[in-house]
């Protein structure tokens, strides 16, 4: 399936955000629904600026109740300790046996800064510059225990091979971390990093650190332009462009019918709204849209955000996804077990392996 655009199989992800829900049950239900559809991963957004539970906690609670679907919470880098972020994501990867991702975001408001009382907010480009540093140090800490660092060698009495543990000695603009991490390398090596790359300052962080870039675009032409640019920039940054997947992020309102509720819409494509590009129509037309954008090489897949979480996710899985599977465009089962395997991304080499501390 690989084309000159480096395009692999279609990837699908869905948001499981549910405003006002703090119990585990409804999140488990939606994640299981997504898993039934064979989706690559679910996202759960997080912010200190509005009511809502801690997203990484919710998806950790979901992990033992699911088996294959990837779990991608948002963790913001502006006020949370980088060391805590990497430990949380590494542990999510462990409790989910290799299904963790991390959607990297920043806190932009002074209101959020006041909740912590440690620093003022900063311009967007500085916040994203710091997010890049946090992503960088997280990868270093994940690598700070090489695979095989735990030897449990009874004859020599050694639990660890200390040559395989490394200080990271990272110094950024506003923080420094000595390391090593407190736990072994996570199952995926590096859990999957997801960055919303639609806005300018986030884009350079995505190009350097993301495995998956989400782009909020309303037309195939826009999608192609953005994807081509991201891939070119990734190549310029010394990366294999195929190691950066670009998913189009769309709000979906699947309404009540099988086809578009509004003439000229639905099948006509998404339209821009204040919350982002919105697709409104039936699940069959959404399947057509996904199939046609994907076939045109405009995206590696889609990240779909249900407007009515339960209704729309159910219609997405039972309608749209079923149809795409029927047409042979989407997997009918998970051949792999980790999120990296779902996404066709290799387990990364360890930056410290074979080298000096």
């Amino acid at each position: 399936m690989t084309s000159s655009h480096g395009r692999g199989p279609l990837h699908l992800a869905a948001a499981v955000d549910q405003p006002g829900v703090y119990d585990a049950g409804p999140y488990v239900e939606l994640a299981r629904l997504a898993e039934r559809g064979g989706l690559d991963f679910v996202t759960l957004d997080d912010t200190f600026a509005r009511p809502g539970p801690d997203a990484s906690a919710v998806l950790s609670r979901v992990a033992p109740a699911t088996h294959r679907v990837g779990l991608v919470p948002t963790l913001t880098t502006t006020h949370t300790e980088p060391f805590h972020i990497q430990a949380t994501i590494a542990t999510l990867d462990r409790v989910s046996r290799g299904r963790a991702g991390w959607r990297i975001d920043v806190s932009t408001t002074e209101g959020e800064a006041r909740l912590f009382g440690r620093r003022h907010t900063a311009p967007l480009d500085a916040l994203w510059q710091e997010a890049g540093e946090v992503a960088d140090v997280a990868a270093k800490l994940w690598d700070s225990w090489e695979d095989g660092a735990v030897v449990r060698d009874a004859p020599t009495g050694r639990f660890l091979d200390r040559d395989k543990l490394h200080h990271v000695d990272f110094t950024g603009e506003a923080f420094s971390v000595r390391g090593p991490a407190l736990a072994p390398r996570p199952p995926q090596g590096h859990p999957v990093r997801v960055v919303d790359a639609t806005e300018g300052p986030a884009r350079s962080t995505a190009v350097r650190h993301a495995d998956v870039a989400l782009v909020h675009v309303a037309s195939p032409a826009q999608a192609r332009t953005v994807r081509d640019r991201l891939r070119a920039d990734a190549a310029a940054a010394g990366r294999d462009p195929n190691s950066l997947l670009v998913l189009v992020s769309l709000l979906i309102d699947l309404g009540d019918g099988e086809h578009a509720a509004e003439p000229g819409h639905g099948g006509g494509g998404p339209r821009q709204t204040a919350q982002g590009p919105l697709y409104r129509g039936g699940p069959v037309d959404l399947a057509d849209l996904i199939a046609s954008w994907y076939k045109d090489g405009t995206a590696d897949g889609f990240h779909l955000i249900p407007v009515e979480p339960r209704r729309d996710l159910e219609r997405l899985v039972n309608g749209t996804v079923a149809l795409l599977q029927h047409r042979g465009l989407f997997r009918t089962f998970y051949p792999g077990s980790t999120l990296r395997e779902h996404l066709g991304l290799a387990r990364p080499a360890n930056q410290y392996a074979g080298g000096a501390a």
């Binding site: 703090y22 119990d23 585990a24 488990v28 200190f48 009511p51 809502g52 539970p53 801690d54 990484s56 906690a57 919710v58 950790s60 609670r61 979901v62 992990a63 033992p64 109740a65 006020h79 300790e81 980088p82 060391f83 805590h84 430990a87 949380t88 590494a90 542990t91 999510l92 462990r94 409790v95 989910s96 046996r97 959020e112 006041r114 909740l115 912590f116 009382g117 440690r118 225990w145 735990v150 449990r152 009874a154 020599t156 009495g157 050694r158 639990f159 660890l160 091979d161 200390r162 543990l165 506003a174 923080f175 420094s176 971390v177 000595r178 390391g179 090593p180 407190l182 736990a183 072994p184």
Partner: protein
Amino acid sequence: MSGHRPRGPRPLGRHCHLAAYFPGADTPTVWTGPDAKSPIEFSSFEHLARTAERGLFDFFLLAEGPRPRAHQGGIHDLDAAGRPEPLTVLNALAAVTERLGLAVTADATFNEPFELARRLATLDHLSGGRAAWHVVASSDARTGEDFRRGDYLDRADRYPRTAEFVATARRLWDSWTPDEAPRPFAHRGRHFDIAGEFTVPRSPQGHPVAILTGGSGEGREFAAATADVVLARPGTLEAGRALYADVKGRLAKYGRTADDLKIMPGVTVVLGDTAAEAQERAATIRRRLVSPQRALLTLERLWGVDLSAHDPDGPLPEFDPVADPRLTGGRARHGDAGATAGKLRALSREKGLSIRQTVIETSARQSFIGTPEAVAAELAEFVREGAADGFVLVPQLTPGGLDEFVDRVVPLLQERGAFRTEYEGRTLRSHLGLPDPAGTGEPYDERTGHLA
């Protein structure tokens, strides 16, 4: 909610409380042999948590850290090391347990009140009211090297800052209205100056259970003002009674009763079909804990020199300890070291013990060693005699170290009427018989460091 214990004289055969600690990293843990499994994989956590719940335990406690320790300029490699982030593990354990309390150790020095309060409240919601917070405050520079705030917390600031942290967290937990609308909060104290809206409604327990370690006088005072559960060191019945009376005696001035705070020593238990077999098994565990290399390391820390040329099965060094901070971890305890070394040499000569045998001989004995009947009787006695409200069991083996206790001792405690035969409530507060927190925005007293 059930669990409000009637005040007044205690009924005979008063229930004790039981908790389990996840072994590893900072406790003496056997990691060799086929019965020792990974202290890192989720399956080990799940096994212990399910075992604790099968035994109707009150809660399961996870530690955080510690950082890998240094030895001879490198990372110390002889002990079980590596610990996943405990809050994340507990959120996952909430999915595989239904009643068991889930207690997390979280450092007040390297967290911020808003964020940690939010994470704890989230755990309480996701677990249906089973969250507890073991409050610790580290002050070491080494830990600080991994965090924004840097490398220190003045020891004198530890309790005041921690008290302000806990009080602030409780204020955040109280900040939503009963009909689930956020209300603005503002706190300005010596250590925290924050304002805004909390993002989580009041959780099932109101306040997750607060667990503190009561060591020093200052620590006991803070615990009496603040804690729902106090972790104590294991010791004799007499020592237990003294601590118990001391801490409970401090409660009245905070308007609290003896039942509002539970004292639970951390204990190790070894069982056998006979007393002699139990002693033999306990000795075997101590031998397994002290590998030849570990024995040498113990002496190196004391002697302050590299002893790798010495045979662990041979005699102790003839020379006296020297001070090398690189080997003693920077601790200047030379005088003590000399005296301790002298005692070890005397013991070794007297009993004809090798280096390793000497270290094993002087290693800590397990707290309760005996037949299930004898251990159950002793545990019940501690509770009856006012030396403890219960116990935190510290298994020495991952993950099977609790199995035997749950299978053999718990039923005997139940027969004696000393332990529950089913969970009565759903929340950890109900298991512990703790009152619901009053809760709406108690004022915080900056001067005394506790709620006014």
